[in-house]
């Protein structure tokens, strides 16, 4: 009896804490959506060139950023999971740094390095290539802040793969690349997809680094978060409408890809 009561109290605390947290995130988002539908015209906002242009730019840049994150982040995550090398903990910490940095600091760092007078930007400028304040800069800003989310997850995925299975594959005559492709990646796939999804979500919502490094130009670098800020300063209802589009898009994207990750885990 006493035992059951203790259990109930514990259950109550757990349930209550979870409910508070869900309400804490759910109520503000719900309130914003409700207010947006009551005061603003979401459909009209969806038709406005500011919103549609920003929407496509956001989708395109975040997709490219994720593709680059996966292409460059997968080898990095594998190295961190499987090899020990001098300075490993430094590299590991460095990769996590963008998560902690205020994004606007990340943008400033990119600007200092890749701007016209920067160590990397200088030679590019001399060759007549602009890096900062271009659509490419939007992708770089998103990559900078979002890639740690992919590497983190991918590394955990690789670490969870039983190394004996890789050894078996090797004894069956499979080379390193073949083993990686046919054994390691499939087993780590749910983590890889999950990491890519979080990376995409972070890239989609990126603001601070983008406005600093890529600037704010309609049609070129003005992604949805930037369009929302500019609208907030003049027409808050339009801002709410664009925000709702972003919320729905992000929510649907996360939902679909998380389902995909679960499916990937079950099939393999």
């Amino acid at each position: 009896m006493r035992r059951a009561q203790t259990f109930t109290w514990g259950g109550l605390v757990v349930g209550l804490s979870a409910a508070i947290l869900v309400a804490f995130i759910g109520i503000p988002v719900g309130a914003l959506i409700a207010r947006g539908f009551i005061e603003g015209d979401v459909l009209e906002a969806l038709r406005s060139p500011v919103a549609t242009t920003a929407l496509w730019l956001s989708l395109a840049t975040s997709a490219i950023a994720v593709a680059v994150a996966v292409a460059l982040g997968t080898p990095a995550a594998y190295l961190l999971a499987r090899r020990s090398f001098p300075g490993r903990s430094i590299v590991d910490t460095l990769i996590d740094l963008p998560v902690v940095l205020p994004p606007v600091v990340g943008g400033l760092a990119l600007l200092v390095a890749l701007g016209r007078n920067g160590v990397i930007g200088g030679p590019f400028d001399a060759a007549g290539v602009d890096v900062a304040f271009t659509t490419g800069a939007v992708v770089l800003a998103q990559l900078f802040v979002a890639v740690p989310f992919y590497i983190r997850a991918a590394r955990a995925g690789f670490e969870s793969v039983d190394r004996r299975l890789e050894a078996v594959s090797a004894t069956l005559g499979a080379g390193g690349w073949r083993t990686f492709r046919r054994v390691t990646v499939p087993l780590a796939l749910p983590s890889l997809i999950g990491g890519a999804v979080m990376c995409w979500a972070r890239a989609l919502g990126e603001f601070g680094a983008t406005i600093m490094f890529a600037g704010n130009v309609f049609g070129r670098t003005q992604t949805m978060p930037l369009a929302i800020l500019e609208a907030i300063e003049t027409d808050v209802d339009a801002a709410l409408a664009i925000a709702i589009v972003l919320i729905v898009l992000a929510f649907a994207g996360l939902l679909v890809f998380k389902g995909l990750a679960r499916l990937g885990g079950r099939v393999l």
Binding site: F133, G215, N216, V236
Partner: protein, 280 residues
């Protein structure tokens, strides 16, 4: 806020035996009170909020300090942003007592919406300035050169006063020289549109763009990091700064005293020291 929590504690204490549940409730109530009241600090008895254009940051910080010395019972809380942002905040009920704008448009709009208690009155004027980083990497010297293909500019958005003044200057100049395509060609070279002049100045000072439109006061404040390129007379626009007491502070002595101080010789002297033109 502290008073709030202790009141709750007292109520629970006097309410009955000091049971654990009651204390838990107090803890939760305290936590909720903290979350609800947020970061509200102690409210000063005679505190005024001055919402001032971003370009007034240095001058108004100094003015507020001297004002507090002449009136020790009053504390001035400053909020700097693009004038269009401040106006939008006031329109949505922000607790501003004084509004100092970098152009007349935003002050007039607030007055038309009956959100000002006093009529906006100009207290100083600034000058639009075409500025380049001190090393002037592209060797720019004229407005026409801003249209060259490899030139990257930074400017204010259309709503922020410095962006509006810059567009007005370009339009006037284009008209004077009869070059219809000039404004569009300059705008095509803008790498970023910023929401206040300090952000424009920051990108210039970083040297990551070639030129931008700021105020003369920003060039002065940059301590040599920025150099002003003289605008032709046809491109000169007036940039008067009006100030007013907001409706919510109507009749508040401290708010009126602050605007009076800005107009006073002491206030005007500080503004002049920061490069503003005054009407003294």
């Amino acid at each position: 806020m502290t008073g709030w929590v202790s009141a709750l504690v007292l109520r629970y204490r006097s309410g009955g035996p000091d049971s654990l549940t009651a204390w838990r409730a107090v803890a939760v109530a305290g936590l909720v009170a903290m979350l609800v009241s947020g970061a509200c600090g102690p409210v000063h008895d005679d505190e005024i909020s001055v919402y001032a254009a971003a370009s007034l940051r240095d001058a108004f910080t100094e003015i507020a300090r001297e004002f507090e010395e002449t009136r020790p019972i009053t504390r001035v809380v400053l909020n700097f942003a693009g004038s269009q942002v401040l106006r939008a905040q006031i329109e949505r009920g922000a607790p501003a007592d004084v509004f100092a704008s970098a152009d007349e448009v935003h002050a007039r709009e607030l007055e038309a919406a009956s959100l000002l208690a006093t009529s906006p009155r100009a207290f100083a004027a600034n000058a639009l300035a075409l500025a380049v980083p001190a090393d002037n990497p592209r060797g720019l010297g004229t407005i026409e050169e801003l249209t060259y293909a490899d030139v990257r500019l930074v400017m204010g958005v259309a709503d922020v006063p410095v962006g509006r003044y810059a567009r007005a200057a370009l339009q006037r100049y284009a008209l004077a020289i009869g070059n219809d395509g000039l404004v569009g060609a300059v705008l095509d070279n803008v790498a970023s549109f910023e929401t206040n002049v300090r952000l424009v100045a920051a990108k210039l000072e970083l040297g990551v763009v070639d030129a931008g439109f700021v105020y003369r006061t920003d060039v002065l404040a940059s301590d040599g990091a920025l150099v002003e390129i003289a605008l032709p007379p046809a491109a000169v626009v007036a940039a008067p700064y009006p100030i007013a007491v907001t409706q919510r502070a109507a009749g508040r002595a401290a708010a009126t005293a602050f605007t009076d101080f800005v107009h006073s010789p002491a206030g005007q002297r500080i503004l002049e020291a920061h490069g503003f033109q005054t009407f003294g």
